[in-house]
Amino acid sequence: MEFEAVIGLEIHAELSTKSKIFCSCTTEFGGEVNTHCCPVCLGLPGALPVLNKAVVDYAIKAGLALNCKINKETYMARKNYFYPDAPKNYQITQHETPLCSDGFVEIETEEGLKRIGIQRIHIEEDAGKAIHEGEHSLIDFNRSGVPLIEIVTKPDMRSPKEARLFFEKLRSILLYAGVSDCKMQEGSLRCDVNVSVRPKGSNEFGVKTEIKNMNSFKALEKALEYEIKRQINAIKNGEKIIQETRRWDESKGQTIAMRSKEEAHDYRYFPEPDMVYLKVDDEWIERIKATMPELPDEKKRRYINDYGLPEYDANIITSSKELAEFFEDAVLNGANPKTVSNWIMGEVLRTLNDKDMEITDVKFTSRQLVKLIELVEKGTISNTIAKKVFAEMFETGKDPEKIVEEKGLVQITDENAIREIVNKVLDENPQSVADFKNGKTKAVGFIIGQVMKASKGKANPQIVNKLVEEELKKR
């Protein structure tokens, strides 16, 4: 029997507001422990939460970016559970009435475009962070009260790959919309996943497990691959899948059971009595709409239609907001979009990959890349040299003209000079000349190579081709 997986994600994203969700403490990451706190986010007796309007702005923006309906009247709820990092032993969140619902994200799968449904987005507060030192446990409350959105998808994904594509796309959209910095290492983007398996073609859902806290795209994909295999094997062996929460152990490459459904908390949700209804009117929604930047899907269509980029290139370049900005800057600086795209798809991304860097980390500007392209187009340097110049520019951030000048990389187009080199190479390689004479055309390639080498790559390749041919014939 063939099985298929049914996957849904629950994603927590920290919103990029300056202050916390219910008080005016800063949300800045990495402060001295317990310095970004006040009676409200410490949950001290008598302190009361007051909703930060900016949090609602950001959450609405996320909702709009994910094609959601914005719900006009919602309320906060208390989720009750005892845990040392929750200073009130309840979390203020939304339960029955999420701020946003019924949205979708489109992903590009091998079978074409696929819509992943967004069930809901709600706003809530983050908890503090427990730090374990020897036999002591300490708690840092700097993160307590940092605003989060929880995004819950419909169970629409069918493979680890799809889950990864969705998560990548979602991150990109949130980054474009500017609602979260989505730094997975700092925990500002976290993902839990629900997964079950069923015979392919079935409409019923199998028993699902939840896997907690995968902190990279790769981990998500790996954990899902493992868990799906585990579930399928279990079923094949006649075992029952237990509804439970598991965690991904990166080092073991396994998911490990944490707690079963029976041990699950009864959160005793009820409407937060310290707060009033959150009412959002059309005017508010319109105001947020007006601040919405162009999102990746729109941008991609524009690149294809206006710039004539291949869909593949457009996809890659728009997958990152910064990369797209870099591309558009270069185009604005007068470069041919297709040429810029080729550079980005080629040297730029290859080098970034090699060095495990992001476009935001590079030393050179898009303006400098345009200058480099112009040097090639004017014939000042060859494509081969341009790659060398690029490498240098990548390392140092120096202007390409300066690199060319300093290293004497200007292309040699003087026919006399090149002819001199050609003859010198022919003199030094009588065997190749003889091979040529005997009809071994391969020898030509070797000779051209030697000429380029002798000119340190600076000779204009077309002229070299022409002169090698001419001189060989003379011999």
Binding site: P45, G46, R268, P273
Partner: protein, 481 residues
């Protein structure tokens, strides 16, 4: 001097016939003398004299000061004051010092109030006799064998016994009005949302409201002037203009329509109380008030609704007291769960634990709809019924408490009997309405209070009626302590 009203004392201060320092010393001496018997205070603030001296400097420099400036007062021990303990009369918070001021404390300080100490209460404001305090038994100044009522028993007794000129309490189901009634003082619960709850240690967030205990109605108006008003730190506080409540004093009561809900005069109300209330109603009629019978049948469900809603919220509000970050922590424990269980079992008293369990149960999955959700629906019915009643009448009056002050231990063994003490006051909290208890007589030499309930934000109308009857009755409210 000890039984003068705050407004009388204010006039003396303004005329410089007495200084705030002298006044504060007098209060401290009085506390020294009588509090061994009354036991209203959990702590007397030594630095109150410093505040008084500062106020005196301002008075001498000719500064125009607010009404309450320089007058000693006390706060219920569930209201936070920076640098002072706030224990809620619980072992759980025995050594907890608040790092911040409640909004009411901030406003009192701005008004120059001399805050002289923390007043006893039922633990976490749960109770009707102040017997649930973990620290001491406050006694009724009219009869030291009897309770002062609760939960703000310390706040009521301190004012009644002449230890302070006024005090603040909190009222979730009657915790200001009932002790005011039992101690023969004025106790005012404002409309829900009138006074900021920021810095009031929450019992039931949707019901709690801070209000004053005073010797007369004029003082209540002065204190309300100081503490009412929208606060950005409390989302549930309402942006309704705060009028000068003293403008509602000395108003003609001719044509004022008052409703008498028959359900509040029925079974369970002691005859002695009923007699005094009926006498008061006759006085109202003499003042030109139009009295008519009304019916509020939904009120009989208020107590049930109250114990679901208040306990549910309390179970969550009190979850933070877990022995981890502050407060009582059990000495020996196995692991974190054991630490929670032992700290909370040892740190909370029986009534608090009873309500936490009740509330936890009511919110549990499978029971939520039957209890919490249903209680919310009945709450709406109670609100609608009051709204309808206020289409025909300006105010509603009833006894505040079904009985006069009872003896220690008389009801403490039977929670349901104790809960009935709040039968007349609880519906008002469920609806979020304002109400006062004003002394109208004595039964067996113990004070009887009349409850006057107003429509939303109509504290002014309540003040007019309360002031009218207070003047007409002119009672002697000085217990012999």
């Amino acid at each position: 001097m000890h039984f003068k009203s705050a407004h009388e004392v204010r006039d003396l201060l303004r005329k410089k016939e007495i200084s705030s320092e002298e006044l504060t010393k007098l209060c401290l001496e009085r506390i020294e003398k009588v509090d061994a018997k009354v036991e209203a205070f959990l702590e007397v603030f030594e630095d109150a004299l410093d505040t008084a001296k500062e106020i005196d400097k301002k008075i001498l420099s000719g500064e125009n000061l607010p009404d309450l400036a320089g007058i000693p007062m006390g706060i219920k021990d569930n209201i936070c004051m920076e640098g002072k303990k706030v224990t809620c009369a619980s072992k759980m918070l025995e050594n907890f010092v608040s790092p911040y001021d409640a909004t009411v404390v901030e406003r009192l300080k701005k008004n120059g109030a001399v805050i002289i100490g923390r007043l006893n209460m039922d633990e976490f404001a749960m109770g009707s006799s102040t017997e649930n305090s973990a620290f001491k038994k406050t006694r009724n100044p009219y009869d030291l064998e009897r309770v002062p009522g609760g939960s703000s028993g310390g706040s009521a007794a301190a004012v009644a016994a002449g230890e302070v000129y006024y005090s603040l309490g909190s009222d979730t189901g009657g915790s200001i009005r009932q002790p005011a009634s039992l101690c023969g003082v004025v106790g005012f619960k404002p409309t829900y949302g009138r006074v900021s709850r920021y810095g009031l240690v929450a019992f039931a967030s949707s019901l709690d409201q801070i209000g004053p205990f005073t010797r007369d109605v004029e003082d209540a108006a002065l204190v309300l002037n100081a503490i009412c008003g929208k606060d950005d730190k409390d989302s549930t506080s309402k942006d309704v203009a705060v009028e000068d409540f003293t403008t509602y004093l000395n108003k003609s009561l001719k044509g004022v329509k008052v409703g008498l809900p028959k359900e509040y005069f029925g079974e369970g109300i002691d005859d002695g109380v009923k007699k005094e209330i009926e006498k008061a109603i006759e006085v109202l009629k003499d003042l030109g008030v139009e009295v008519k019978q009304i019916s509020l049948p939904m009120s009989q469900y208020a107590l049930s609704v109250y114990y679901i809603l208040a306990s549910s919220e309390a179970s969550s509000n009190l979850a933070r007291f877990d022995g981890i970050r502050y407060g009582y922590r059990a000495k020996d424990f196995e692991d974190i769960i054991d630490l929670y269980v032992k700290s909370r079992s040892q740190g909370f008293g029986n009534e608090v634990k009873r309500r936490i369990m009740l509330g936890t149960y009511a919110l549990s999955s499978g029971y939520y709809d039957a209890y919490y959700k249903k209680a919310l629906k009945v709450k709406t019915l109670i609100i609608n019924e009051f709204k309808k009643a206020f289409e025909d009448v300006n105010l509603i009056v009833s006894p505040t408490s079904p009985s006069v002050a009872f003896k220690f231990g008389e009801k403490s063994s039977d929670p349901l009997k104790m809960y009935l003490s709040d039968i007349c006051t609880v519906p008002v909290n469920i609806a979020g309405l304002p109400a006062v208890s004003v002394p109208v007589g004595f039964s067996d030499n113990l004070p009887v209070g009349l409850q006057i309930i107003g429509n939303y934000f109509k504290e002014g109308e309540i003040i007019s009626l309360a002031h009218g009857i207070e003047k007409a009755l002119n009672l002697n409210l000085r217990p012999n302590v």
